[in-house]
C-alpha cells in the first residue's frame, strides 16, 4: 500500500502543478475551458491527497510497522485514539494533514464560488494550486510518510506526555486555523490579479476568515490549558517560539477581520486589507516553518531537518509575490474617501490595526532576534519574558480601551455631545469598580488596577449596548424582554456577535491579569504533619502513596487543604514514572475555587521516599484564572452568532454581483 500512497502524493503534485500553470495561463488569456480544467485538477488534488491520507491512517490503525512512520510514532499497546492522532504526531504526517486541509479548503472554496465569481476563481485556482504544489513537492521528495522498512516487531511508541485528549484536538484545530488563512489570502491575491478593486473577495471569504480565526484562537486556548494542567509548572503561556507561532497570525487575522469592516462601510483601507491578509497568511506559513526547523531555540525544540531550507524558500517566494502584486496594483486600490474626523469609528479601527500589527511584529522580532544576533555576533540572544510582557501591556491595554470606545463612536464623525452621553455610564462603572478595588486593597499594582478598570469599562459599554438595543426593540412592540433581546441579536448578528466576542476577550484579559497580578506563590520543605500557608489556605502534608500500573509508577503526596479552620478537601500532587520510556512527569494537583473563579495549584517539586520522607511543595494561588477557559466558550458562542447565515444579507449581496455581471438593458 505504501507505493500507492507515494503514487497518490505524486499525482497530487502533478495535479497541483497543472492547476498552477494551466490555471495561470487560462486566467491570463481568458480561456474558459482551460480554467475549468485547472479547477477540476485542483479539486481532484483533494481526492488524491485524501487517498494518501487514508492509506497512512489505515497503516497506523493496523499496526503496519513496515511503514517507517508508523513504527516511529506508535506501538502495539497504544490505544486507537492515539494511533489516530499519531497521523499528525510527526513531521511527515503533519505535513500531509496540512496538505489535506489545504486541498480540502481549496476544493470547497473554488466550487462554492464557481458561479458567483468565476473571474476571481480563475485566479484563485493557480494561487492555491501553487501552494498545494509546494507542500506536495516536500511530501514527495523531502519528507515522505510512505518510507518503508523491514517491519520490526514493535514500534517506538508515543511520548507519554502526548498521550492525552489534547493531542487529539489541539493540533487539528490549529491546522484548520493556519491553513484556513490561505483562502482569504488567495482570494485577495486573485482579486488583485483580476484587477478588481471591489470587495467581492472579502465578501466571498468572510466566513472562511472567521472560521479559521476561531479555530486558531480555540486551538491556542486548548494548548494553554494543556500546558497548565499537564505540563504542571503552574503557567499557561511562556512566549515560547512555538506558542508565538500561533499567536502572531491570530493577531494579524484579528486586525484583518476588523479592518475589512471599514472597507465595507466606508470603502477605505483597501491597501491595509490586502497587506493584512497577506501578513496573516505569511505569519501562518512562517509559524509552520518555525515549528519544524531547529532554527530557533525552543523548549519544544524540534530537530534540525532539511525541511527548513525549503520552507524558507516558500516563505520568501510568498512574501515577494504578495508584496510585488500589491505594489503593482496600488493605483487600483486608491480611494477618494478620506478620514473626516479624529473622533470616528474609522480612526479607532485604524489604531486597532496599528496596535495589533505592532504587537505581532514585536513578537516576531522577539522570535527571530536570536537568529539575527547569532548571525551578527556568533551567539544567539534570547528575549526574556519581560520583553513580551512589556509590549503586551503597552499595546494590549490601549487595545482594551479601544474595544470599549469603538462601539460608542459613530462612523465618519461623532459629535462630542453624543460621545459624552454614550461614555458616561460605562466610564462611571469603570471608576466605581476602580474605587472598590482600591478600597478592597487591590490597588497595589497600578497595571492590575488599570487592567481591571478598563475591563469594567468595556464590559459596561457592551452591556449598555445590549440594554439600549433591547429597550429599543421593546419600544417597537416586541411582547417581552426576552423576545426583544432575541430579535435584536437575530437581526444584527454581526454586531452583537462581535460584542460577545469582545466580552470573551475581556474575560481573557481579566483571567490573565488576575492570575498574574493577584496571584501568590509559596514553596516549603515539609516533614510529614507539617503545614504551610498560601493566600488564606493551609496545606498540611499527610503522607505519600505509591500505586503501580502496567507501565507507570504513580507517586502521590497527600495534602489536606483547609481554609478558615475548616478542612475543605485533599489534593494529591505527585509524579509519574514511565517504565518503558524512562521518563517522569510532574502531576500538578488543582483545586477550583468557585468564589474567586481561581485555582489552588500544588506541585510536589521534590519527594523523598526514604529517610525523613520530607517533601518540597510549591503552592500557587491563581485568582480568576478560570475566566480564561470560560472566555473560550464565550468566544465560540460569539463567533457562532456572527457566523450564523443571514438570508436577507446573502440575497442582497448576490443581487449586487449579479447586476454587475449582467449586461445593461437598453
Amino acid at each position: 500500500m505504501a507505493p500507492l500512497g507515494r503514487a497518490a502524493l505524486a499525482l497530487t503534485l502533478g495535479l497541483a502543478a497543472y492547476a498552477l500553470v494551466a490555471g495561470a495561463y487560462a486566467a491570463w488569456r481568458g480561456r474558459r475551458r482551460l480554467a475549468l480544467s485547472a479547477r477540476n485538477a485542483l479539486v481532484a488534488a483533494f481526492g488524491t491527497t485524501l487517498l494518501a491520507s487514508l492509506i497512512l491512517l489505515g497503516a497506523l490503525l493496523r499496526h503496519d510497522f513496515s511503514f517507517v512512520y508508523v513504527a516511529e510514532h506508535t506501538s502495539r499497546q497504544l490505544g486507537t485514539a492515539y494511533r489516530f492522532s499519531a497521523f499528525w504526531g510527526g513531521q511527515e504526517g503533519s505535513l500531509l494533514l496540512w496538505l489535506l486541509v489545504l486541498t480540502g479548503y481549496a476544493a470547497a472554496a473554488v466550487l462554492l464560488n464557481r458561479r458567483s465569481a468565476p473571474d476571481l476563481v480563475a485566479w484563485v485556482v493557480p494561487v492555491l494550486g501553487g501552494l498545494a504544489a509546494f507542500f506536495a513537492f516536500v511530501l514527495v521528495f523531502v519528507a515522505t510518510p510512505f518510507a518503508t522498512q523491514q517491519a520490526p516487531p514493535d514500534g517506538a511508541g508515543l511520548n507519554p506526555s502526548l498521550q492525552n485528549p489534547y493531542m487529539l484536538a489541539h493540533p487539528p484545530l490549529l491546522y484548520l486555523g493556519y491553513v484556513g488563512l490561505a483562502v482569504p489570502w488567495a482570494f485577495g491575491m486573485g482579486a488583485l490579479l483580476a484587477r478588481r478593486a471591489d470587495e467581492r473577495w472579502i465578501v466571498a471569504t468572510r466566513r472562511w476568515t472567521l472560521l479559521a480565526w476561531t479555530a486558531l484562537g480555540v486551538g491556542q486556548l486548548l494548548g494553554s490549558h494543556w500546558a497548565y494542567v499537564e505540563v504542571g509548572w503552574g503557567g499557561f503561556f511562556a512566549w515560547d517560539p512555538v506558542e508565538n507561532a500561533a499567536l502572531m497570525p491570530w493577531l494579524a487575522a484579528t486586525a484583518f477581520l476588523h479592518s475589512v469592516m471599514v472597507q465595507e462601510k466606508r470603502g477605505m483601507l483597501k491597501v491595509w486589507n490586502v497587506i493584512l491578509v497577506s501578513l496573516a497568511f505569511w505569519l501562518s506559513l512562517f509559524g509552520t516553518f518555525l515549528t519544524r526547523s531547529g532554527v530557533v531555540n525552543s523548549i519544544h525544540s524540534f530537530a534540525q531537518s532539511s525541511i527548513g531550507g525549503w520552507f524558507l524558500g516558500a516563505i520568501a517566494v510568498t512574501a515577494a509575490f504578495s508584496l510585488l502584486l500589491i505594489l503593482t496594483r496600488l493605483e487600483l486600490l486608491r480611494t477618494e474617501t478620506k478620514l473626516e474626523s479624529l473622533v470616528s469609528r474609522e480612526v479607532t479601527f485604524l489604531y486597532n490595526n496599528l496596535l495589533l500589527v505592532a504587537l505581532a511584529l514585536t513578537i516576531l522580532w522577539g522570535v527571530t532576534s536570536p537568529i539575527v544576533t547569532e548571525l551578527l555576533n556568533g551567539v544567539p540572544t534570547n528575549k526574556h519574558q519581560g520583553y513580551y510582557d512589556f509590549f503586551l501591556r503597552i499595546f494590549g491595554l490601549p487595545l482594551l480601551f479601544l474595544m470599549g470606545v469603538a462601539p460608542l463612536l459613530a462612523w465618519r464623525r461623532a459629535s462630542w455631545r453624543s460621545v459624552r452621553a454614550s461614555f458616561a455610564i460605562p466610564a462611571a462603572v469603570a471608576v466605581a469598580v476602580g474605587l472598590v478595588l482600591v478600597a478592597l486593597g487591590e490597588g497595589g499594582s497600578l497595571l492590575g488596577l488599570l487592567a481591571y478598570t478598563l475591563s469594567a469599562f468595556v464590559l459596561a459599554s457592551i452591556g449598555y449596548e445590549f440594554v439600549r438595543g433591547t429597550a429599543a426593540r421593546r419600544a417597537l412592540g416586541e411582547p417581552s424582554w426576552l423576545r426583544a433581546f432575541g430579535s435584536l441579536v437575530a437581526r444584527n448578528r454581526r454586531r452583537y456577535g462581535g460584542y460577545v466576542v469582545h466580552a470573551a476577550i475581556v474575560l481573557l484579559a481579566l483571567g490573565i491579569a488576575g492570575s498574574g497580578v493577584s496571584g501568590t506563590e509559596r514553596g516549603r520543605l515539609l516533614q510529614p504533619g507539617e503545614s504551610m500557608r498560601v493566600a488564606g489556605y493551609t496545606l498540611t502534608y499527610l503522607d505519600q502513596t505509591v500505586s503501580q500500573r502496567p507501565n507507570v509508577t504513580e507517586l502521590r503526596v497527600n495534602v489536606a487543604v483547609s481554609r478558615g479552620g475548616h478542612r475543605i478537601g485533599t489534593l494529591h500532587p505527585g509524579k509519574n514514572a514511565y517504565l518503558a520510556e524512562q521518563q517522569t512527569s510532574n502531576e500538578m494537583a488543582i483545586r477550583h475555587d468557585v468564589a474567586s473563579l481561581g485555582d489552588l495549584a500544588v506541585i510536589a517539586d521534590q519527594i523523598n521516599q526514604t529517610g525523613s520522607r520530607a517533601v518540597y511543595l510549591k503552592a500557587l494561588a491563581k485568582p480568576l484564572i478560570n475566566l480564561i477557559w470560560i472566555a473560550g466558550f464565550v468566544f465560540v458562542l460569539g463567533s457562532a452568532i456572527t457566523l450564523w447565515p443571514d438570508a436577507r444579507e446573502q440575497r442582497r449581496l448576490a443581487d449586487r454581483y449579479d447586476e454587475a455581471l449582467a449586461p445593461v438593458a437598453s
Partner: protein, 129 residues
C-alpha cells in the same frame, strides 16, 4: 464640496512614530540574554543562558549545597561545573540537553534559581536513546 482636511492622518502618523520610538528605546535598553554553550563562556560577561548536555548530576536542588552537575558542549568536550537551586524539571537527567541562566563565577557557573529548562524529546524526529 471641499472638506476641511482632518488632522486625523497626522495624528495617526505621529502615533506610529511614537510606537516605533518606544520600541527602539526599550530594545536598546533591555537587550536579551545570550545563549551560549560551555566553550563560548569565557568570551561572555554577565548573565547568560547556558545550554549543554548534563553530566554526573548529584546533590539536591532544594538543599543549601544545591544541585551540582557538569554541562558539556553538544558536540565538543568543553565542560563546566554548574551549581543550581530551585525547581528541577522531571525530564532532567544525565545525558539530557538543558538550558540554565546564570553567571560564571570563579570557574563555576552559578545558576539563577528556577531557570533550569529541559528540551522536550523532539516530536518531529525518531527518538534517540
Amino acid at each position: 464640496m471641499a472638506r476641511k482636511q482632518s488632522p486625523a492622518r497626522l495624528v495617526v502618523a505621529l502615533s506610529v512614530a511614537a510606537v516605533l520610538v518606544i520600541f527602539l528605546v526599550y530594545t536598546s535598553l533591555a537587550s536579551g540574554t545570550p545563549l551560549v554553550q560551555p566553550s563560548q563562556l569565557p568570551k561572555q560577561h554577565g548573565s547568560v543562558s547556558l545550554a549543554g548536555v548534563v553530566l554526573r548530576p548529584h546533590g539536591n536542588a532544594r538543599s543549601t549545597q544545591g544541585l551540582r552537575f557538569g554541562l558539556r558542549d553538544f558536540a565538543g568536550k568543553t565542560t563546566v561545573n554548574v551549581v543550581y537551586h530551585g525547581s528541577v524539571p522531571d525530564l532532567f537527567k544525565a545525558g539530557r540537553r538543558v538550558v540554565v541562566d546564570g553567571t560564571l563565577k570563579n570557574g563555576v557557573f552559578v545558576a539563577r534559581p528556577d531557570t533550569l529548562v529541559t528540551k522536550c524529546p523532539s516530536k518531529y524526529q525518531p527518538k534517540k536513546g
